[in-house]
């Protein structure tokens, strides 16, 4: 037999002014199962809470109903109160008679009547409440960061700084990501390498950090606190533990015609290579597509010259399995492929380059040693045209991206400024649609490009670029001046839209993390939880969540790290006990629930059941992982047999509320 206590709060006059609290407590006292009905000025006060605690003990209450403010306000407070008195905290229901009653209604009689009905519904529900135990799930004290660009590096360093082990998985042979390819960074014009490479070295030297370079995530299972991840370490044909990074092999390799991916194909490298001087780890790797030893067994020069004996042509991909408590996606971005933009003659002229290629052409470690030369004839360009928004801000039906790539306005201003600074005799034109510079010192930077450096900013998109007689004929409109312009340029630089790395989509599937239509990872809440994925234990860092510049990326990387640290500092996670639970006897194993579960919390098990005449039957039944289930209840409605129910919001509980309200 239930022994329910009802406590009606006055909330000073907030409730008592429009609701006759005495009448409410009197009326509710008559409800079945109610053994005590009291009212008090402030239930949430110390005295009020003491009143509840004492009553629970003295009357051996089995359930508590508090008629007060919204449960969103004080449900947690009162759960603790109830727990202090030794009652399960989930044997409590709150009737919201303030926000949804006394504050809404003016008529005292009506408000009082409604408060009684809401109280009755809570009593009807609490009758069916069951004690719930918040589950505990252990936390593996190691994090995985997928992607070793500036985002991944910063996240890993911060996590390691807090004392937790962290692994970085990077698909390239070195960490560093896009930032290694940049020349200077806006708006301060520091050299990208100067600020990045120390961080890369920190990663390598930090004993808490393991770097899986030239590796990819192959499979992910498990859930928050205990993910199980398979990592594929791709064969580099060089023993990482033996190679000293001396680079002799990369000088002696006879295969010289390999397009250098680090310089975006603007020059060549050998078949065995170290991506760049400050690579981490500084270990050579053989490009199997070009190595003649690997292709047809002839050559072997690198093995001969390697004093350390690090070359191993028989190396195979290796699969490593590790456990992690948290995973951070930091898969970054790429500029879009510009071959669909031949109105700008990108594939017809080598002198039409993307902005990232331009970075390499300006970079001291780039193909031209930092002197800006046209790729076609290695001469100094005198007239340079920058085209903004190439492939950004397009309509959904078109070939480009619908979003603004965010970083282009600033890096174009940087490029224009650097050109004018290094080569004052060049004419630099920037064709823009809008110049977007929201950021600290950003607009000032852009204005300097215009005012101090004399860059010609022209509003209007370029209509066509055609290579002719060694020049690039640029046809555009100056919308403010009302003129059509024809410029004979030496070089055209296209600010290509950026898009998420292609590896992000399959990774999202493995992580059951959601993505938007552009393949950016979705955050748990666009404003309030910007670095968490809706999937518990998966966090987002950098451009994989949306276009952003370096300062923003680093800020988000540290934010993601702090979320990871918060998770890893717990020994176990307290789970929400209001999770789905299947009744195995009724479960058909039909997979309807699994199909609607946004978290992948449901799995199936073939289980033996007793059949008629002492037979046993093997039946497929659903299992809910309480650590993964977030308690939305989508499965409970999808379940045709009603085997799936939601603790704390069970079918019977809600039906009882409905009945009480409609009575």
């Amino acid at each position: 037999m239930q022994r329910i206590g009802v406590f009606v709060c006055w909330c000073g006059t907030n409730i008592a002014a429009t609701v006759d609290v005495q009448a409410v407590s009197d009326a509710l006292a008559k409800e079945p199962g109610v053994v005590l009905s009291a009212n008090y000025q402030y239930m949430c006060s110390q005295t009020g809470q003491d009143l509840i605690e004492t009553a629970i003990r003295e009357h051996a209450l089995t359930g508590v109903v508090i008629c007060s403010c919204s449960p969103r306000m004080h449900e947690q407070t009162f759960r603790k109160t109830v727990a202090r008195a030794g009652l399960n905290p989930y044997l409590l229901e709150i009737a919201n008679i303030r926000e949804q009653c006394s504050w809404i209604h003016k008529d005292r009689a009506q408000a009082t009547e409604k408060a009684i009905i809401l109280g009755r519904a809570a009593i009807a529900k609490v009758q069916l409440n069951t004690p719930l135990q918040a589950g505990q799930s252990p936390v593996t004290k190691r994090a995985l960061v997928i992607g070793g660009g500036i985002a991944g590096i910063q996240t890993a360093l911060d996590i390691a700084e807090a004392g937790f082990a962290v692994d970085i998985v990077e698909k390239q042979p070195t960490i560093g990501g896009k930032m290694t390819q940049l020349d200077k960074t806006f708006p301060t014009l520091d050299c990208a390498a100067c600020i990045l490479t120390p961080k890369m070295v920190d990663c390598a030297q930090n004993e808490k950090i393991r770097i899986f370079s030239y590796s990819e995530v192959e499979a992910v299972s498990g859930f928050v606190g205990s993910f199980r991840v398979t990592i594929r370490k791709k064969a580099r044909y060089v023993r990482e533990d033996v190679c000293t990074g001396c680079g002799l092999c990369t000088e002696k390799c006879p295969q010289k015609k390999v397009p250098n991916a680090f310089n975006l194909g603007l020059d060549t490298r050998r078949a065995i290579y170290i991506p760049f001087a400050q690579a981490v780890p500084k270990v050579a790797v053989i490009d199997a597509d070009y190595c003649s030893m690997l292709k047809n067994g002839k050559c072997g020069v690198c093995a001969k010259v390697c004093a350390a004996g690090a070359i191993d042509y028989t190396q195979k991909d290796e699969l490593v399995e590790c456990e992690y408590g948290a995973i951070v996606a930091a898969t970054g971005y790429n500029p879009i492929d510009l071959s669909g933009y031949d109105e700008f003659a990108y594939s017809r002229s080598p002198d039409v380059v993307s902005s990232l290629e331009f970075e390499r052409l300006m970079n001291a470690a780039g193909p031209t040693g930092g002197t800006l030369l046209r790729p076609s004839d290695k001469t100094h360009p005198k007239t340079i045209v920058f085209v903004q928004c190439v492939g950004s801000r397009c309509s959904a039906e078109g070939k480009g991206k619908t979003y603004c790539s965010k970083i282009c306005c600033m890096y174009t201003a940087k490029h224009a400024m650097l050109c004018r600074e290094k080569y004052p005799d060049t004419d630099v034109y920037v064709f823009y649609i809008d110049v977007r510079t929201p950021g600290k010192n950003f607009d000032e930077f852009y204005r300097r490009a215009v005012e101090e450096y004399g860059v010609h900013y022209i509003k209007g998109m370029v209509g066509k670029v055609s290579p002719e007689g060694g020049k690039l004929k640029v046809q555009a409109s100056d919308l403010l001046d009302g003129r059509q312009l024809h410029i004979d340029a030496d070089m055209v630089v296209l600010a290509a839209a950026i898009e998420p790395d292609k590896s992000a989509r399959p990774l999202a599937t493995m992580l059951t993390a959601s993505m938007d239509t552009n393949d950016f990872f979705t955050e748990a809440h666009p404003k309030l939880r910007p670095v968490e994925s809706p999937t518990a234990g998966v966090f987002l860092s950098g451009c994989c969540q949306g276009p952003k510049d370096i300062p923003e990326t680093v800020a988000q990387a540290s934010a993601a790290a702090s979320k990871v640290i918060g998770l890893l500092s717990k020994d176990s996670i307290v789970c929400n006990p209001c999770v789905a639970q299947p009744d195995e006897l009724m479960c058909n194993g039909c997979s309807s629930c699994e199909k609607v579960c946004p978290y992948g919390a449901i799995t199936y098990l073939d289980k033996e059941f007793r059949g008629p005449n002492r037979t046993t039957l093997l039946r497929r039944v659903a299992q809910v992982n309480p650590a993964v289930c977030q308690g939305c209840g989508a499965c409970t409605v999808a379940c045709p047999s009603g085997a799936m129910d939601l603790k704390g919001f069970s079918n019977r509980q809600i039906m009882a509320e409905v009945d009480a309200i409609c009575r």
Binding site: D342, A345, P467, E468
Partner: protein, 262 residues
């Protein structure tokens, strides 16, 4: 290989060489062009206004006739190709136009864009193959520097025409190589010749076409080829440039060693 063939008005008259050489080359290459019976003029320009129905009907009649024969429909004139291809697209994608046209035509089976529309050049590229064409060439045009003039109608809008890369097309250059000549790239190969504005006073079309010719000549072209009688006319009448302009089928027939009477 048998195709339905829509020649169009101009090819029966001023553009007869385009048609005649095309047919003769087809015979030599082993595909048959069956002229549709009782075809009507395509209208010359595609009606961009979505509520223009009457101007779409003749194209749909041609498309439906090819469907009834179970054949793809081949065109040679750029303008006819443009109009018929786009109207076919309307019939596939635009329910409003499809409904209105079918209500008007009252065909036994409503036409919903089932016919495949091919340009003669697409037949060369996708059915015969330029490698095969090169093998069939008996009198290669070795040493000739030829500029491909695409104009507008074959290429744009590329979402509807799906003919070639609209900004960097290659099909005519591949053709030029296949007949043994050397293609010349020039900026204005996909720019407008002035089109029907030739009937407007002021000589704008002549000026526009002149720019094309001057650009091609500056880039070293000795001859231009085109698939469009109106482009041909405008280029020939242009002001400010002088270059011989030929239909691509004329050079095709020549390379295949065919003597085509004028």
């Amino acid at each position: 290989m048998v195709f339905s063939y829509f020649p169009g008005c101009t090819l029966k008259n001023k553009g007869a060489r385009l048609d005649l050489c095309g047919r003769r080359a087809a015979e030599a290459l082993g595909f048959t062009l069956e002229e549709l019976p009782e075809w009507q003029c395509c209208g010359g320009v595609y009606p961009q206004a979505r509520d223009e129905i009457a101007t779409r009907l003749s194209s749909v009649r041609a498309l439906d006739a090819a469907r009834r024969k179970g054949q793809s429909l081949v065109t040679l004139c750029s303008a006819c190709h443009h109009v018929i291809r786009r109207v076919n697209g309307d019939m596939q994608r635009d329910a409003q136009i499809r409904g209105a046209v079918n209500r008007y035509l009252q065909l036994d089976t409503p036409y919903e864009g089932q016919t495949q529309v091919l340009h003669y050049l697409e037949v060369l590229r996708d059915v015969i193959g330029f490698d095969e064409l090169a093998r069939r060439v008996t009198r290669p045009l070795t040493g000739q520097r030829i500029g491909a003039y695409y104009g507008c109608l074959l290429l744009r809008p590329s979402r509807e025409m799906c003919f070639d890369d609209p900004e960097n097309p290659t099909i005519l250059e591949q053709f030029i190589r296949a007949i043994g000549a050397e293609p010349v790239y020039y900026a204005m190969r996909n720019e407008c010749c002035g089109g029907y504005t030739v009937l407007e006073p002021g000589g704008r079309a002549q000026k526009q076409a002149g720019k094309v010719l001057a650009n091609a000549a500056a880039c070293g072209a000795q001859t231009l080829i085109t698939a469009c009688p109106l482009c041909m006319y405008n280029l020939q009448k242009s002001v400010g440039g002088e270059l011989p302009v030929r239909y691509f089928t004329e050079l095709l027939a020549q390379a295949l060693g065919l003597e085509v009477e004028s």
